[in-house]
């Protein structure tokens, strides 16, 4: 007789759900993954960089077989004013050796591969099916409902991504308010790999990430990004949703504006747009992490808001993997104890508190408040660009010292020393 009840049903085959399912299946548990996309990865997108260290704990040497685009050896941060740009450029060959520091990745391919590993490990994946609701026995979650069918389970793992329906159904979270989430829009721009390598000063499979701060968000909390893939660029912007609503700007228009900025235009020259996609990302950090478990129920990854955004780092994938793995550990324990109630499942939170997941979010708990400061997107990038212009201008007029230039520019930006001091203090505390 085939089992009709699973040890765990996982809703969502993104990084979090796949990590949980993989670890559970490897341990021999009966696992079912339900994914709404036509195939895992079909509708998923992110910027682009995957940090590999956590995944390597789950699948050692995964880089030898996973569909990765380029390993990142170069990081650029660019400040944009209306026309000018100022970049900080870091490149290190040490990032180019296994285990690599990070990879650019296209989710449709990567998630599909990862889901394949999950199936190989022995879990069953049902794609094209939306989990609609939870099954209850009193206060205990005992499975899910999808497509009008019931799928009973000892533990349900909600890995259904940002604004998790299941966390809401479980009564752990409310619908996400627009202040706590950002919208990312991105284009996949095709370019031959030789051009990418030449244009970005890369060898073979090396890649670059470039983050943009300033004019591209019209002062809104957010930024632009560019990642080199094998034969394409991922170019996009991420902007806080509430700001976007308030300003009444269409994200697609912002992206067009971004693409036509002189500092960006030439980077994508000659490319053809292959794909446009949009996705939300939680940005409230620890402040909006819900209760992470209840009887028979765990929340992982974006569904639990486990994403680190510091303005320089946007890491959700590592947090998704790590929380998925912690959830798997906890479900194994529940199976051993024969007790899927919160008495066992509270172990999940303990594991996250011990790992980087909740510790990093705690370390950077002030970053959102800091990043809400509009000066970061207008005044400072303009100041840096204008200052550089002053520094490099040869116009036959008497030259000024850097400090003088800075004072003049600060005056023009109506920026006082006090502002800088306060922002500096907040910044030191936040990032």
């Amino acid at each position: 007789m085939e089992p009709t009840k699973f040890d765990a049903v996982v809703a969502g085959a993104g990084p979090a759900g796949c990590a949980a399912a993989y670890a559970l299946a490897k341990a021999g548990l009966e696992v079912l993954v339900i994914e709404r996309g036509k195939f895992p990865g079909a509708k998923n997108m992110f910027g682009g960089m995957l940090c590999g260290s956590v995944l390597a704990q789950l699948i050692p040497n995964f880089w030898e077989e996973a569909p990765l685009e380029r390993y990142i050896t170069r990081h650029v941060i660019t400040f944009l004013s209306r026309e000018d740009s100022f970049s900080i450029d870091f490149q290190s060959p040490s990032f180019g050796k296994p285990p690599y520091n990070g990879y650019s990745v296209l989710r449709a391919k990567f998630d599909k591969w990862l889901a394949g590993k999950v199936e190989e490990a022995g879990a069953i994946i049902v794609p094209g099916l939306l989990v609609e609701d939870l099954l209850w026995d009193g206060n205990q979650v005992v499975g899910v409902k999808a497509g009008g069918e019931d799928f009973p389970a000892s533990v349900v793992i909600a890995a259904d991504g940002v604004n998790s329906l299941l966390a809401q159904k479980a009564g752990l979270a409310e619908e996400l308010s627009t202040e706590y989430v950002s919208l990312g829009v991105k284009e996949l721009i095709q370019l031959p790999s030789e051009i990418i390598q030449e244009r970005f000063n890369l060898e073979d499979d090396e890649g670059v990430t470039q983050l943009f701060d300033g004019f591209c968000t019209r002062g809104m909390h957010g930024g632009g990004f560019l990642y080199t893939n094998k034969e394409s660029l991922s170019l996009g912007i991420v902007i806080q949703l509430s700001a976007l609503r308030r300003m009444g700007v269409k994200p697609a228009d912002l992206l067009e504006e971004f693409k036509s900025h002189p500092g960006v235009r030439n980077l994508i020259k000659g490319g053809t747009v292959e794909e446009y996609s949009a996705h939300l990302v939680p940005n409230a950090g620890i402040n909006k992490v819900p209760m992470l478990y209840k009887d028979g129920f765990l929340v992982v990854g974006d569904a639990a808001g486990l994403v680190l955004t510091t303005g320089i780092t946007l890491d959700g994938a590592s947090f998704a993997f790590a929380s998925g793995m912690a959830a798997a550990e906890t479900v194994k324990l529940a199976k051993q104890n024969g007790d899927p109630s919160r008495k066992t499942l509270c172990n999940y939170e303990k594991l996250l508190k011990e790992s980087f997941v909740l510790r990093d979010l705690e370390t950077f708990k002030h970053s959102q408040f800091f990043l809400d400061n509009p000066r970061l997107y207008t005044t400072y990038p303009e100041l840096i660009c204008n200052l550089s212009r002053g520094l490099f201008t040869n116009d036959g007029k008497p030259r000024k010292r850097l400090w003088q230039l800075a004072r003049t520019e600060m005056g023009r930006q109506k920026l006082s020393i006090l502002h800088v001091a306060v922002d500096g203090f907040l910044g030191r505390r936040a990032i």
Binding site: L32, I34, G41, P67, K109, L129, A146, E149
Partner: protein, 266 residues
């Protein structure tokens, strides 16, 4: 209860974004798009559907056969998830469009299965659209075939079918065993249920090699001696958009009518 064999083929997803469809004009080959899984040809899904309806009507054991690369097991799994009982993958990659070769391999596989009363194929594969495999199998097995069928009824050891012709359809009766290819009028294929997918995932699906079924490729000669693909290209589609102006809606409509008349559309 009768034994039904359904032949299915895995193809590029016809619903994939057109931008992902690329061909290499040098080698006259389609470049498989990365990251987009292959699917069961929609006509073959309907063949499975037709078999399932017979099963529901009078009981049947449905065996699905596919020839393809190892990932073709997914085509079998999909059919099992819909409700078929068993499946077999014959592992061999066929370069696209050689219907004779495909039919030859399928015939050998069917002979290996031994028990069959009815063989159902899709009208044609939705990629190359040759529509010959069903008929060649029937010829090789020496049994009757009806192509482009919209309805199949089993009456004891005979079949009653509706066959689509240019200006209507014909009702035919034929003895079993027989080959039927179904047209899309047979009706929509069901979407697998979640539990259907689960039980399909739990089934072991045997994979046969050409030797297993006694296929001797030298028997039927080289594909390239039969068929030469002269040119493979994507048609260029030109789109022009004109906005027809007018002060009022009525005037714009009148201008539109004028323009359509000029273009001899109306």
């Amino acid at each position: 209860m009768i034994n039904i064999i359904v032949c299915v083929k895995q193809i590029l997803d016809p619903e994939m974004p057109p931008g992902k469809f690329k061909i290499d004009p040098e080698s006259n080959k389609v470049i498989p798009p990365e990251g987009i899984p292959l699917v069961v040809s929609p006509f073959d899904e309907q063949a499975v559907e037709a078999a399932l309806r017979i099963k529901e009507q009078c009981g049947a054991k449905i065996t699905v056969v596919t020839v393809g690369e190892s990932s073709a097991v997914n085509a079998v799994k999909h059919s099992l998830a819909m409700g078929a009982d068993e499946g077999i993958v014959v592992e061999h990659i066929i370069e696209g469009y050689d219907s004779l070769l495909t039919a030859y391999i399928l015939t050998k596989a069917i002979e290996e299965i031994v028990a069959y009363d009815l063989i159902i194929c899709g009208r044609e594969a939705a990629d190359w659209g040759s529509g010959q495999v069903g008929s060649i199998i029937a010829e090789s097995l020496g049994i009757p075939v009806v192509a482009r069928t919209r309805k199949i009824e089993v009456m004891d050891s005979r079949l009653k079918v509706e066959h689509i012709i240019e200006d209507g359809d014909e009702s035919l009766e034929l003895p079993m065993p027989a080959v039927i290819t179904v047209s899309y009028e047979i009706g929509q294929a069901r979407i697998p249920t979640g539990w259907g997918v689960i039980s399909a995932a739990r089934k072991k699906i045997p994979s046969w090699s050409l030797e297993d079924i006694g296929v001797d490729l030298s028997q039927i000669g080289d594909t390239s001696s039969r068929i030469k693909l002269l040119k493979l290209f994507t048609p260029t589609r030109e789109r022009g958009c004109q906005i027809i102006e007018g002060k009022t809606a009525a005037e714009a409509a009148a201008n539109l009518a004028l323009r359509l008349r000029e273009a001899k559309v109306i």
